[in-house]
């Protein structure tokens, strides 16, 4: 079983309760998009809460759902 020290990324791979910034690669039918995280790992993500998105958009993903769009123009 992995622990935090095993993780190459900034979150534990065994814990889904973690927000991960991801890039949309391909929007699919049925509100699902293929996204990649900063390490390039791909996963299918539900887009129901953010609406239609174009490839290249950045989203914050939590437990397989995009919670919000990350807007490049908005500063911290």
């Amino acid at each position: 079983m992995s622990t935090a020290t095993d993780c190459g990324s900034d979150h534990c791979i065994t814990c889904s309760d973690e927000g991960v910034p991801m890039r949309v690669l391909e929007a699919q039918l049925d509100g699902i998009a293929v996204c990649a995280d900063s390490e390039g790992a791909r996963s299918e993500v539900l887009m129901d809460l953010v609406g239609a998105v174009e490839p290249g958009a950045a989203v914050l993903v939590h437990a397989g759902v995009a919670l919000t769009l990350l807007e490049p123009e908005v500063p911290a």
Partner: protein, 371 residues
Amino acid sequence: MKFVDEFRDAQLGRVLAGEIVATVEPGRHYKVMEVCGGHTHTIYKYGVDDLLPENVELVHGPGCPVCVIPMGRVDDAIAVAKEEGVIFTCFGDMMRVPGGEETLLDAKAGGADVRMVYSPLDALRIARQNPDRDVVFFAIGFETTAPSTALTLMRAKAEGIANFFCFCNHVTIVPPLRALLESPDLRLDGFIGPGHVSTVVGARPFEFIPADYGKPIVISGFEPLDLLQAVYMVLRQLSDGRCEVENQYKRVVPYDGNPQALKVLAEVFELRPHFEWRGLGFISHSGLKLSDAYRDFDAELRYSVPGVRVADPKACQCGEVLKGVIKPWECKVFGTACTPERPIGTCMVSSEGACAAYYNYGRFARERQVV
């Protein structure tokens, strides 16, 4: 990657640390609680606390969803997992959380079909692939993960999937914060608010903290500079004599949250009258169950669960850790009988748990070096 690299800049970190040192009042001790387990993880992974003056103490709150699950609910989950024909699915961390006698991992070793998933949607996929078996998802987490469960159940309903069930343990963040503020054990000066919960609920639900208790709260992101800036903003409010809700994580958190997410939560869930939290006891209106419209998916109605309250092991002090009353290393079994490999308490299981964060990043020292 954008949104990550710029928030780990060491030079900016030093500047912020200098601002913090210039803001604190010598001789005054500041206790600031970071509510979210994700924040605790970042603080110890990046050594954020080492950049703070000695009189600024970060207290770790009850915001790790794995850590707050009481042992009785784990026993209930194991009972469902052992039902004939059930495929029981859960996040990886939950498999190692001890119940009264065993973990879900032990139940799996004993023959139960327990599978790790990364999202409830994965569990629904397993249900589609196994129409002749019941698939149960162990739903845990705050308002961040609850929309994922809700959307999955809405899809299951729309597709007419009859073999998918949810053992719902979702909780809400505001009631435990109010319980902590009412607790005589703890005297806090301010809060670092949960970033991703606020993406869903917004910053508005935290207005009671300054309004009713006169304490500042700053919603924060999860990168090291986010946290340093949030600590600075809390200290700045205290220095100015202000108390309000501030949003450091504006790039992600809208003040009113995500209305679509709140809508699906309202459709799929309703509040339980009360729910037990590890270390905090029963808190009114703090847990979610499936609404009547989704009762056909409710694992607690499908199966009878023991529902027995199980006291924590005497040696385990997770309760005090979760309330921020003691530091992890002050627990009698920290790092000896209780380790991430063989956890006794929940706080040592998840990487977001305060004990695991201390253990994994070598924070055994009783004294902190002054910078």
